[in-house]
């Protein structure tokens, strides 16, 4: 990739600066060389030209929360397929959750993940290390060595750090590392046997519920521990209005607390389990009810919760959008609600789901891009600022998308091995057209005619 690349005609949305129209972006030697409004200088004759008229360009998206499943669950996803799905969805950086087998609780596993990601050559991958050995919640993992080997956060995701003492120690031990302890907030006593949100849908379907308080009590505990220890706390996939209020309060008090929300909790609600997002009390169930593809942890909650999450995202209470991409085999999902695995394959639908909020006027594009780029990077720390920058001299990690292109979700066409999405068959608006990592085009869906 020695030839320079010139992208012409794109609208540039960069959180660091004003929106540029019809801009020209030059990439050379893997770095951003220049970003200029209007068709600028003469182009080097060897340059590869990408015609991006009517398209939008931004820094590549950074996902704080993806399950790449390797090592151990390669039937669900591999680092190669997950990162390919990532770049197809505009994510040039993925933080890989450690609930693999073996769990990412040693430098050896961290190195393996980094090697596999290099081999795949799609997105960047930063491993997240376990908080506890084997994610068992009993003893601390070797946090200092994990940090030195390159993890960007600690988490036992998939499960909470349920022992409050262990959580306290993890926050204190790691507080000078400059990376967060990310907790999956779930009070395991309050949601035993849960399948869906505790609400009218759980009542209607006769399914054990997971009340909002099951998340909020852990969010509150974690905030209290962040205050006690001065540690850096990040809260994964918030799903309730009450959690947003707690985080807002913690931030107002100046605590080192950040939070993320997923596209699904912003855009979907408990009714999706009924197979119809508009269903209400008075309607009979359809054969589409008990849609196990809509089962996720935390569960899809109420429309009010989704609205509160959006408010929190807009006012900065929530720093980042993270996918919680959770690929599964069909056989893990095509079973009863109670038996079904939790989680959605999200990477390839995230951007379009979020653009739905923009098209409805609920969110502006600039805020959306901020929460997908500099927002998550600020959670990881200043040392990662270049991942979400278009400044000359920074690595050319960028994404080009069409905000208006319509497409129909067909999981058979996913790069991800996880075909488990409740969005199958839905018409979406907004599509990622091209992604670049280190100046290398890793995904390209622009008509070949677009190349000069």
């Amino acid at each position: 990739m020695n030839k320079p690349i010139v992208i012409r005609g794109a609208t540039v949305v960069d959180p660091a600066g004003p929106v540029l129209l019809k801009a020209q972006i030059t990439v050379d030697e893997g770095k951003i060389l220049a970003v200029k409004e209007g068709s600028a200088d003469s182009v080097h004759e060897d340059a590869i030209i990408i015609d991006a008229d009517n398209l939008t360009l931004s820094p590549g998206f950074v996902d704080l929360h993806a399950h790449l499943r390797e090592p151990g669950f390669e039937d669900k996803e591999t680092i190669a397929t997950g990162t390919k799905a990532g770049v197809a969805g505009g994510f040039t950086t993925l933080c890989a959750m450690p609930n693999t087998n073996p769990a990412t609780d040693s430098a050896a596993v961290v190195e393996f993940i980094v090697q596999q990601a290099k081999k795949a050559g799609n997105s960047r991958v930063y491993p997240i290390g376990c908080v506890t050995k084997g994610r068992h919640g009993i003893e601390l993992a070797e946090l200092r060595e994990l940090f030195d080997s390159g993890v960007v956060a600690f988490s036992d995701d998939g499960t909470p750090v349920w022992d409050s003492h262990i959580m306290q120690m993890a926050l204190l031990y790691s507080r000078e590392f400059g990376v967060p302890v990310t907790d999956h907030c779930e009070d395991l006593q309050l949601n035993q046997g849960w399948v869906v949100h505790e609400g009218w849908v759980s009542s209607r379907l006769g399914l054990p519920g997971y009340p909002s308080s099951g998340e909020e009590s852990m969010v509150a505990r974690n905030i209290a521990l962040a205050e006690l220890t001065g540690g850096q706390l990040h809260l994964a996939h918030l799903s309730t209005a009450g959690s947003v209020d707690l985080v807002r309060l913690a931030k107002a008090r100046g605590l080192r607390v950040t939070a993320e929300v997923t596209p699904q909790h912003l855009t979907m609600s408990e009714e999706w389990v009924l197979g119809s997002e508009t269903a209400d009390h008075t309607q009979a169930l359809t054969t589409g009810a008990y849609d196990s593809f809509a089962k996720v942890n935390p569960p899809l909650r109420t429309k009010k919760d989704a609205a509160a999450l959006l408010d929190g995202l807009k006012d900065g209470t929530i720093d980042a959008i993270a996918t919680d991409h959770a690929p599964h085999c069909q056989t893990d999902k095509e079973v009863t609600m109670q038996d079904a695995a939790v989680g959605f394959s999200v990477l390839e639908t995230a951007f379009a789901s979020l653009m739905g909020l923009v098209h409805k006027g609920y969110l502006d594009l600039e805020t959306l891009i901020q929460r997908l780029t500099t927002g998550p990077v600020s959670v990881l720390g200043k040392q990662f600022a270049e991942l979400a920058s278009l400044n000359p001299g920074t690595p050319a990690d960028l994404v080009i998308f069409d905000t208006n292109e319509q497409w129909i979700v067909d999981p058979d066409k996913f790069y991800s091995k996880g075909k488990n999405t409740p969005l199958q068959g839905k018409t979406m608006t907004g599509k990622v057209k091209l992604a670049m990592v280190d100046g290398k085009i890793v995904h390209n869906d622009i008509e070949s005619g677009g190349f000069g």
């Binding site: 006769g206 399914l207 519920g209 009979a284 054969t287 009810a289």
Partner: protein, 341 residues
């Protein structure tokens, strides 16, 4: 096919058959007319059952399979008996004897039964919604829900409604008290939809820990206004008050292991406040009907004296179980133009 089958339209209507539907998954989509169709058919079936020779040829050549993943006596046996009296071939599969223990998925089992030529599968499963999953993955096969988790038990609901109708005629405007563990009761849920469709006024009673949160908070949103009048739900955790002037009292089985989950402190306390006994029953209407879907913990949720007393219709419920299931099978499987009845 690597992706999920698209959710289907409304429970597929099937105009070729007298009961215009393909599956029976719950009572929530039954109109009062459809219920009446089944009840009049059940009257005819009750007559068949009173004959010396209990056999009619109406479902000759039809194959009914029962697939039970949970133990059951009366439901399974009454389906088997209903099918046999109507001359269908009935094959019983106990889950322990089927491939499920070898790890075959419910979907594959459904497809296998369909491939083997079953016309209808009667399924009981410990997981709410299992019959909906089966219904999504079959083509010609019909699914009857014989109880799924906490969700629904539509044929028990039909039996209960039919029993009420026998004794009181119209249930419209009648006060029905259902007492016990509503949250975990599929019978309560199915009866609720049926009773609302028929315009009954339902009061749910029991400890607050045994009533779904949403019903505790929003019972008002469930009322149903139709040609039978207004059916609605009220919640009253005080049974002594709730039972006042009741026309029908339905006691639910207390799952004794719920005590371990702290849903109630002790059986003693449960009995003290929520047992259906003679003192409480005296506050109900004089001709009150007492019902119980069985199996009964005599002396716990209901006293022996009440269970076997003059108000009890529990035996009728069992007896009607066969007639109702005969009616349902016939109305479901027999084409409108059927000529071999």
């Amino acid at each position: 096919m690597s992706t999920k089958i698209e959710a289907q339209e409304l429970k597929e209507k099937d105009p070729m058959y007298s009961l215009g539907r393909k599956h029976v998954l719950d009572l929530d989509d039954f109109s009062s007319e459809e219920l009446e169709t089944i009840f009049s058919s059940a009257d005819a079936m009750a007559e068949v059952m009173s004959r010396d020779i209990k056999k009619v040829p109406s479902l000759r050549g039809k194959i009914i399979m029962t697939l039970f993943y949970e133990p059951s006596t009366r439901t399974r046996v009454s389906f088997e008996q209903a099918g046999k009296v109507l001359s269908a071939d009935v094959i019983n599969l106990a889950a322990s004897a089927s491939s499920s223990t070898k790890g075959e998925s419910l979907i594959n089992t459904t497809r296998t039964l369909e491939a083997m030529g079953a016309d209808v599968v009667v399924v009981r499963h410990p997981h709410s919604g299992a019959p909906y999953l089966m219904a999504r993955y079959c083509d010609r096969l019909r699914v009857i829900n014989a109880g799924d988790g906490r969700h629904a038990h539509p044929t028990q609901g039909l039996v209960d409604l039919y029993t009420v109708r026998q004794h009181l005629g119209d249930v419209s405007g009648k006060k029905v008290v259902i007492v016990g563990d509503i949250t975990h009761s599929r019978v309560a849920r199915s009866n609720l939809w049926g009773l609302l469709a028929m315009g009954a006024r339902v009061t749910l009673s029991g400890p607050a820990t045994m009533i779904p949160m949403d019903l505790l908070e929003n019972s008002g949103t469930y009322s149903k206004n139709n040609n039978k009048g207004i059916g609605d739900i009220e919640i009253d955790t005080n049974l002594d008050r709730a039972i006042d002037s009741a026309d029908i009292v339905m006691a639910l089985r207390l799952q004794l292991e719920r005590q371990e989950l702290s849903l109630f402190p002790t059986i003693r306390e449960y009995c003290k406040y929520w047992q259906v006994n003679e003192t409480r029953l005296a506050k109900a209407k004089q001709n009150v009907l007492v019902m119980h879907p069985g199996p009964i913990n005599e002396g716990i949720e209901i006293t022996s004296a009440v269970a076997h007393g003059i108000h009890s219709r529990i035996k009728d419920q069992v007896k009607n179980g066969v007639a109702i299931r005969m009616a349902l099978l016939q109305e479901l499987l027999l084409p409108k133009t059927g000529d071999d009845v």
